[in-house]
């Protein structure tokens, strides 16, 4: 055995390495504060900017469908029905749901929806269950989750990991549905990134993981033939709530 494991997180290991590459580069260290990164253009911000929420919805729909997403636009009053349809259509026998508080469900007009579910079992992703959540997610035919944003340009939903809705929530169940308020449609990834960067910095968001998910999992590894559904969900549905 070597001492490498003990070297991790030591000043010596870090400094030896960094000094060595600084020497190889023949450049002094700690020059960054006088030469911060200044982008040559603002394409990430400007691309697709200045669109109304209606226009963004239109673009989001087109681009989501392009990546094999079932895209639905509903009023909050109809949301419960849409979710039931999803459960029925996909023949979901076991369902995974997040454990967000009552208020969140009520905001989406789903206050009573959970009481009348005709699925058994319904697993809730809960902090207290720890890693049992992973097993539950693996045993779920479907998951219904809440996304933070929908990106018009790429048909992407973005989701931070929360104690109530973990990482594998979005990966292990076979079928997957995400709910997004129309007001949370953003032009592209930059605006979402700006939000996360700021929220993490000012402490309003405490998360270890941010997922940008663009359609169901897929692969072209066998003869470059597109296969939809590999390790993650086999299919995916976005439901945009028009009046939110």
């Amino acid at each position: 055995m070597t001492d490498y494991l003990k070297d991790a997180n030591t000043k010596q290991n870090q400094e030896d390495f960094l000094n060595r590459i600084a020497k190889a580069a023949d450049r002094p260290r700690h020059t960054l504060k006088d030469d911060p990164f200044v982008p040559v253009n603002d394409l990430p911000e400007k691309t697709l900017s200045g669109k109304s929420q209606d226009e963004l919805l239109e673009i989001a729909k087109k681009n989501s469908e392009e990546v094999h997403v079932d895209f639905r636009i509903v009023k909050s009053a109809e949301l419960g029905h849409t979710l039931n349809d999803f459960i029925q259509e996909k023949d979901i026998k076991s369902l995974m749901l997040p454990s967000f508080d009552e208020k969140k469900w009520q905001d989406y007009s789903l206050g009573n929806w959970q009481d009348n579910l005709r699925v058994d079992p319904v697993y809730y992703w809960e902090e207290e269950l720890g890693r049992q959540n992973i097993v539950n997610a693996n045993n779920s035919d479907g998951a219904i989750g809440f996304a933070d944003f929908l990106l018009a340009e790429s048909g992407t939903i973005t989701i931070a990991t929360y104690p109530e809705q973990g990482r594998t929530f979005h990966f292990l169940p076979t079928h997957y549905l995400a709910i997004i308020p129309k007001s949370k449609i953003l032009p592209r990834s930059r605006q979402a990134m700006d939000y996360y960067q700021k929220a993490i910095q000012d402490g309003t968001l405490k998360t270890s993981n941010i997922n940008f998910i663009t359609g169901p999992s897929n692969s072209g590894d066998i003869e470059m033939v597109l296969i939809v559904g590999v390790h993650g969900p086999l299919d995916m549905e976005y439901v945009v709530v028009e009046d939110m």
């Binding site: 070597t2 494991l5 991790a8 997180n9 290991n13 870090q14 960094l18 590459i21 190889a24 580069a25 023949d26 450049r27 700690h30 020059t31 960054l32 030469d35 990164f37 982008p39 253009n41 394409l43 990430p44 691309t47 809960e126 902090e127 269950l129 959540n133 992973i134 790429s154 992407t156 990991t161 990482r167 594998t168 990966f171 990834s189 930059r190 990134m193 996360y196 960067q197 405490k206 270890s208 993981n209 997922n211 940008f212 998910i213 663009t214 359609g215 169901p216 999992s217 897929n218 692969s219 072209g220 590894d221 066998i222 003869e223 470059m224 033939v225 296969i227 559904g229 590999v230 993650g232």
Partner: protein
């Protein structure tokens, strides 16, 4: 362990590649399909050149301040409760991870596709631990693993050289009894690997970009295996090449956008994830989060003409446009880094002795330079390798070397060049044959040469073995004679 995928000599590899009709057809098909997808995805983004400028600027800026950014990243990983190990070479990195796996009593290791772990030969090291099983979970890497650790031939599509029947045979050994439909086979793998994932206790991933200002790592994938690797095992080890770092989430966002479009022609791949060790109140994600930052020869590029190569974001689009890769595939290059980026990187990371031919296996067509999303002047760097090999290391002692040096002399002396023009016809005319009506018109006014005696230099044979050469014009019929004569005539007309 190096980056070589073959111990056969270069010429043998090329000859084998030429003979592999399936491989060549599938590479060509892949290139053509990617050409359409990539072009369209970039066009839709608008102002692609502007995006390239910004991306190149980010990469260059980071390289300029690489120690600073690595320091910031390392500090932030530690602040988040993670661990960082700086490894100066592959051995150190691999040994560290192996000892960590032993210490953590790992039994079931899962990996998601990572070029750098292939580069440092990690898999074979880990498999020497008694009682440990290891699973590559990217579909392509899994196929390679189950096919007796066959070598990858593309940095984004590692199994480009295999057809569905070959893959079916591989899976049959694992109990698959279905047909050769890619979707059916993928479903089999999903089930097979899902069971393994559920018991995995040690996860290893690569890293597309490390985020300096918050200690997260960014992974860009399509299948979902990387996210499972980052979520299920209690220990996660991230292995990253030391140059794969960006200042903040914003720059990662820019690069992810050009990366996905360049690599697979998608606006964003299915999964683009930013991640670190789990928060205390979260249920999944790694309790222990390790990052191993690997140099392994990269620092040798710093402050040299090859430094721009460190801008590389491993999108593989240079492979997808390369007309040489199209013909010889990854196996022809004999390196885990094939194609133009491989022709630049392999001699640096694996040594000139091993890979001296690669920079010459290039027509300098610059398709790579044109497509590169971070503006690496790839063909220039390939040419620069030739300079290092010839003018600095003097690796060529053959007749070709003497001949090319003579060409250098001949093209710098008007007197010698005049002699060349004078004797070209006389020297080659005896080998000339009269053209027939079947011959290509306009190309052979003085006859064609389709054979040279065996004593002719290898370089000349190289031409004539493949193509017919034109017999040079007689000295008094060459362009310069005509021009002089023409000028006189024009002069008389004007007088």
């Amino acid at each position: 362990m190096g980056i070589a995928t073959s111990d056969k000599p270069f010429n043998e590899r090329i000859t084998e590649a030429e003979a592999d009709k399936f491989m060549r057809a599938s590479v060509a098909k892949a290139q053509d399909a990617q050409f359409q997808k990539r072009t369209e995805a970039r066009r839709q983004l608008g102002n692609w050149e502007g995006w390239r400028d910004l991306s190149a600027e980010i990469r260059q800026h980071v390289l300029k301040h690489l120690p600073d950014y690595l320091e910031e990243f390392s500090d932030n990983v530690q602040k988040n409760g993670g661990h960082v190990f700086f490894a100066k070479d592959g051995d150190e990195a691999s040994t560290f991870i192996k000892e960590l796996a032993i210490k953590k009593k790992a039994q079931h290791i899962v990996k998601s596709k990572s070029m750098v772990t292939t580069e440092i030969g990690l898999d074979k090291d880990l498999l020497t631990i008694p009682g440990v099983s290891l699973m590559e979970t990217d579909l392509a890497e899994f196929i390679l693993q189950e096919d007796n650790w066959d070598e990858p031939t593309h940095i984004v599509f590692p199994t480009l050289h295999k057809n569905r029947n070959q893959i079916q045979k591989v899976f049959e050994k694992l109990g698959y009894d279905g047909d050769n439909d890619p979707e059916h086979m993928a479903r089999f793998v999903r089930h097979y690997l899902r069971n393994y994932f559920m018991k995995a206790d040690f996860g290893i991933t690569g890293c597309n970009f490390a985020i300096a200002n918050n200690g997260m790592i960014n992974l860009v994938t399509n299948e979902g295996n990387a996210d499972l690797t980052m979520a299920i095992p209690k220990t996660q080890v991230v292995v990253m090449g030391m140059e794969r770092i960006v200042p903040s989430l914003k720059e990662a966002e820019t690069l992810d956008n050009v990366l996905c479009r360049s690599a697979v022609g998608q606006k964003l791949t299915s999964y683009c994830t930013f991640s670190k060790g789990k928060e205390a109140n979260e249920a999944d994600g790694p309790d222990d989060f390790y990052v191993v930052i690997v140099d392994n020869g990269r620092s040798e590029m710093l402050n040299t003409d090859f430094e721009p190569m460190l801008q590389c974001i491993r999108c593989g689009s240079c492979l997808n446009v390369c007309p040489v890769y199209r013909q010889v595939g990854g196996k022809g290059y004999g390196s885990i880094y094939p194609g133009p980026m491989g022709a630049v990187l392999s001699p640096i990371l694996g040594g000139y002795q091993e890979f001296k031919e690669l920079p010459y296996a290039c027509s300098l067509c610059a398709a790579c330079t044109e497509t590169c999303p971070v503006k690496i002047p790839l063909h220039d760097l390939i040419r620069h390798h030739r300079y290092v090999e010839m003018d600095q290391l003097h690796l060529d002692h053959s007749m070709s070397n003497t001949l090319l040096k003579a060409v250098g002399k001949g093209t710098s002396s008007p007197v010698l060049f005049n002699d060349a023009m004078r004797f070209a016809h006389i020297a080659l005319e005896p080998f000339g044959k009269k053209t027939t009506p079947e011959d290509v018109k306009n190309l052979y006014p003085e006859g064609k040469i389709n054979h040279l005696p065996a004593v002719a230099p290898k370089l000349a044979q190289g031409w004539v073995n493949v193509r017919d050469l034109a017999v040079p014009p007689k000295y008094h019929q060459n362009f310069r004679h005509w021009y002089r004569h023409h000028e006189e005539e024009e002069g008389q007309k004007n007088d």
